[in-house]
Symmetry: C2
Subunit: 757 residues, 2 copies
Amino acid sequence: MASLSDIGVAAAINILSAFVFFLAFAILRIQPVNDRVYFPKWYLKGLRSSPLHTGAFVSKFVNLDFRSYMRFLNWMPVALQMPEPELIDHAGLDSAVYLRIYLLGLKIFVPIAFLAFVITVPVNWTNGTLEHSNLIYSDIDKLSISNIPIGSDRFWTHLVMAYTFTFWTCYVLKREYEIVATMRLHFLASERRRPDQFTVLVRNVPPDPDESVSELVEHFFMVNHPDHYLSHQVVCNANKLSDLVNEKKKKQNWLDFYERKYFRNQSSRPSMKTGFLGICGSRVDAIDFFTSEVERLSREIDSERDKIVNNPKSVMPAAFVSFKTRWGAAVCAQTQLSRNPTIWLTEWAPEPRDVYWDNLAIPFVSLTIRRLIVAVAFFFLTFFFMIPIAFVQSLANIEGIEKAVPFLKPIIEMKATKSLIQGFLPGIALKIFLRFLPSILMLMSKFEGFISLSALERRSATRYYIFQFINVFLGSIITGTAFQQLDNFLHQSANDIPKTIGVSIPMKATFFITYIMVDGWAGVAGEILRLKPLIIYHLKIFFLVKTEKDREEATDPGTLDFNTGEPQIQLYFLLGIIYAVGSPILLPFIIVFFGLAYIVYRHQIINVYNQEYESAAAFWPDVHGRIIVALVVSQLLLMGLLSTKKAAQSTPLLITLPVLTIWFHRFCKGRYEPAFLINPLQEAMMKDTLERAREPNLNLKGFLQNAYIHPVFKGGDDSDSDATTEELNLKPALVATKRQSRRNTPLPSKHSGSLSP
Amino acid sequence: MASLSDIGVAAAINILSAFVFFLAFAILRIQPVNDRVYFPKWYLKGLRSSPLHTGAFVSKFVNLDFRSYMRFLNWMPVALQMPEPELIDHAGLDSAVYLRIYLLGLKIFVPIAFLAFVITVPVNWTNGTLEHSNLIYSDIDKLSISNIPIGSDRFWTHLVMAYTFTFWTCYVLKREYEIVATMRLHFLASERRRPDQFTVLVRNVPPDPDESVSELVEHFFMVNHPDHYLSHQVVCNANKLSDLVNEKKKKQNWLDFYERKYFRNQSSRPSMKTGFLGICGSRVDAIDFFTSEVERLSREIDSERDKIVNNPKSVMPAAFVSFKTRWGAAVCAQTQLSRNPTIWLTEWAPEPRDVYWDNLAIPFVSLTIRRLIVAVAFFFLTFFFMIPIAFVQSLANIEGIEKAVPFLKPIIEMKATKSLIQGFLPGIALKIFLRFLPSILMLMSKFEGFISLSALERRSATRYYIFQFINVFLGSIITGTAFQQLDNFLHQSANDIPKTIGVSIPMKATFFITYIMVDGWAGVAGEILRLKPLIIYHLKIFFLVKTEKDREEATDPGTLDFNTGEPQIQLYFLLGIIYAVGSPILLPFIIVFFGLAYIVYRHQIINVYNQEYESAAAFWPDVHGRIIVALVVSQLLLMGLLSTKKAAQSTPLLITLPVLTIWFHRFCKGRYEPAFLINPLQEAMMKDTLERAREPNLNLKGFLQNAYIHPVFKGGDDSDSDATTEELNLKPALVATKRQSRRNTPLPSKHSGSLSP
């Protein structure tokens, strides 16, 4: 059991490491040579030009202005200065609302922590239960509910606190839901014309022996939406083509690398081996090899492109159908077309950037089966992951390590080592395990067949949260307890087991405090350093970059990873809410995390991340729902705890809490959730009417024609894509857009989601 | 514990009582004087005229043709002869599909019973576990899984059977869902024009300081559905008016009664007391009193009617909005209108007969709170009802009774009494408790604010099922077990308790067999006798009936009570599915119930019941869902049972069963359920197009004008309603229809739901 001083050491280490990260960041960011790594968003927006062009040679790479080193924390106030509306214009609503999650944490926990330290902590401290018990305990546990004698009237304090905290949390949640819903509606209403406002994705077009998919879609909508149907765009299975394009890109990179190598050292042409990882196989001239490879792939790409355009079999039974009015699209997206509910499925088209093209090719029939397979796989993943964690946790106990490897005892017994192990190990072990996870979960979501990136990320986030809840939270409590108390359990009668668990839950607080410090504090501080992108950028600059355009592409700003970030925050909400009543000592650590993370991520969103898509905060119902889950869990745990404390008269009062919370959730769901799912007809009609008045002669068909074409048709980096584009122009259903790499074009600010007409 | 001979006695008694009921029915139904009680449906349809008009005086009342007494069971084949399409025409789809639930029971359980008796029963019987144990057991238990020794390989039989039964049940369920969905769609497609096809109910119209509700609705839909909006009908709060009308009707009945009394005995005018129940208060002349009362009420009704028509405050913020096309209505019903999802709520209008007018007046804001209140109330109702049942069940144990009232011991110990008590008492006690319930549950649903009778009945049915599941099923198993085995439990270690429960579940089979016989066999046979309507009819004929029209009204055909009937059937499904693997001895009793009930209810539906509304089998998803619940519960119980039998190697195989079953449910839900909720646009468009081609000059507005007027405005039986109708004609929004009592008019066959244009 970690004592107060162990916690102190761990805190010192983590604060120090956070400080080191910040210092490193402060030094690295003001070096011009790193400018593109730490401010890529401004480059993408075209608002910042490379500092390499100006000034003396040395100052191109190293900042020699020593005064700027003194103000190494001045990015913090700068990050906080940008007002929210400007932030929405700058980075999109998704990012701005994402930041509000951290703010929500502060709003919930600061008043709760204040109340808890003024009221609960003194009530807990002024008892002597633990001192007179034979349980292992630390000073920190004396601040918790464990220190109150069984059957004491002091539990009424905790009951009242549980009510207060629940009501406060619900109040804040409701207010936040309302604000976010308004922000979303305002954002959607103030947007310019976007293709997805007029477009509906139709899936599972039934096969027809006489008509092609395209004809069938046209006829069906001509009949069933006669007044509103405008045009459509069939979906082609271009997965193979996009694989080829990607492969070509990779080979092109190698070609660039070797060309550059040869350019620097013209004495010998670079050579390589063709086999596995360049280790085995015959030795060939690298430049020749990759040139021929690139040419071969170009030919293959051309023939594949032809095949897709000309072969009706490559057309999937799905189409993007566009309507003359937003009203028509809203109606079509919200209604069922056919009497058979598994064909002619309509849903809002995601915005073009948000479409996950690979999954459009999945036939609908297999979706149900895929869902079952993924559910089973996730179940196994979740429950068999527990074994290694339990093992590591048992090692993380000093006594456990000493027993396992007795010869290390002298080293471990040194005070510094001991504190280090107890402060770091449990947190780090967990963290490493969890690193593997998000990509597996994302693969699962992709396999399941969601058709937009935002949906993929939301589903992955849900799974990640469930995983963390079971494995990190429950796993840590139950396994940890089990390893320590198993001996006791086996010799106790059935009635005493829940008591011991009830006592152990608050005692796990110390473990979670170290976890918060390692994962939260140091993790967030490490985030700002961007070590991985920094290294990759410099490697690329050194090996690949030939032109200024290449340099632009070498900067990968990355995106805010909703699928891992949000569940991580939710874990802190869960811990905070659960420990708020029992062990409020956890709360300051969580508040520090929320504050630090808010500043860091605000900085990153302003300067670094460039979101791939804009879902207009569609994730908020998930965020809200998970905090409600945390609330209900905390209430149930408290009920269990108090019932073991013989404070049984409080049970009926505690049962009403989850009932009220769930009712509150249903109320919020009914009141606010539709704003995140549905485009109401009134809004659509209003925008239509305005538009008709302003631009009576709008050529909507032209505007929508090329919106939903698979990105590989939208002109890649190939020299030969022009030919294809021309060819495609002959086929109206597959017309490619003008060649344009969105990456390099400054996005129109304010409407990062809209394509200019 | 009831032995085989006890069961035999109970079976004999129940078969005898069923036989007596059938005999009584056979005699009563062929008496001309009862003709209207046993064939009311034919009278309502105008296809049968009163036999009282023809023949000799005596044969008007008593059937003297003795040959007809010989064929006393010939109603059974007659009931089965009507083919299903004719049955749908005759009694509506709801009734025809309701009968299919019984057929479904037969389809599921006959093959299962056959398999079980060929395979499982011999496997169970050829063991001697119970004989060598010290548990109390009966011969019937020897047929069950209890008789197999712990850890035996014979449990593989039960495992394979569990799989077979699950797959068979799912196969039958899927096929049935498909058939019912097709029937529903065909029924809806072949219907004539009905007002509800064009109409949407709009609730929670937001208050507007400048416009009345009617104006606001008109403007809103003019703007948001400009091409489709036709007309609307605001909803008035006429609850007080309909109370007054009902009261007047009651007083009118008393007036008729006293007038008839005076007519028979003109010597003295009847008198009565005005106080409570006619017991206290001052004595007055009854005819005068009721005449003045009726007059007073007529005046009050007139003034209330005026108030509703002229006072804008009586207009509720809700309206029935009609569209020019079915397509427009389908679109409006399926989409969200306003950005605020709690105002301008649209849903399909129920057919006019199905509207529960009282609840249209509930403001929407209170609905969430009402739902919470009802949920809490239902929880308490469910869990506090267990106490009396537990008490009665404990008494139903012979030994328990002997201990409680020792002086009755000699009587109880007589063999006949003992069998009687053990065969009847537990079932009857439960049955009496359950009699109180449906009306309470219906009140709850009404309070909750559903706006159609069909929704009210479906919700009540769900609650009734939950109640029965917890109290009848779980209550009987756990409480019964608890009372018998509590002593054992207290002296056992923790590991042995689940074992004892596992053994006890199959041993409860004998209790449920008696329950099935009393509730199922005798109950169904009693149903056909219609004792209560028979008595009421004859009382009315004697005391109230003056004219032929009165006689028509005296017959109350009643309706099929879905809210109690369906959950009752579901209990048999639950018992059958749960005991199919462990104690197949239950199955023949259940099959007899399903067969008997099918014949009896088919007869009743053809000859007696007259449904109030037609929901086109909207209840089928509930039926399907509950059978799935029964399947999953049975699989979990079997898992518990087998794990206590040390057949642990089967556990992973058993876990996959509920997973597959739930997946199957989700599949069916996605595939078939929308057919029961949504009117697809394709269908609507098809019917619109056909209609436009056939009747290009249709006056739809005229057709829809009076469809959704509160029934009290639709002309009652009052002499003064003509005046009101005229008055209402001045106000287009509240025009009353032609005076017409649907009760007395033969309904157009085939389209029992459609109002002739």
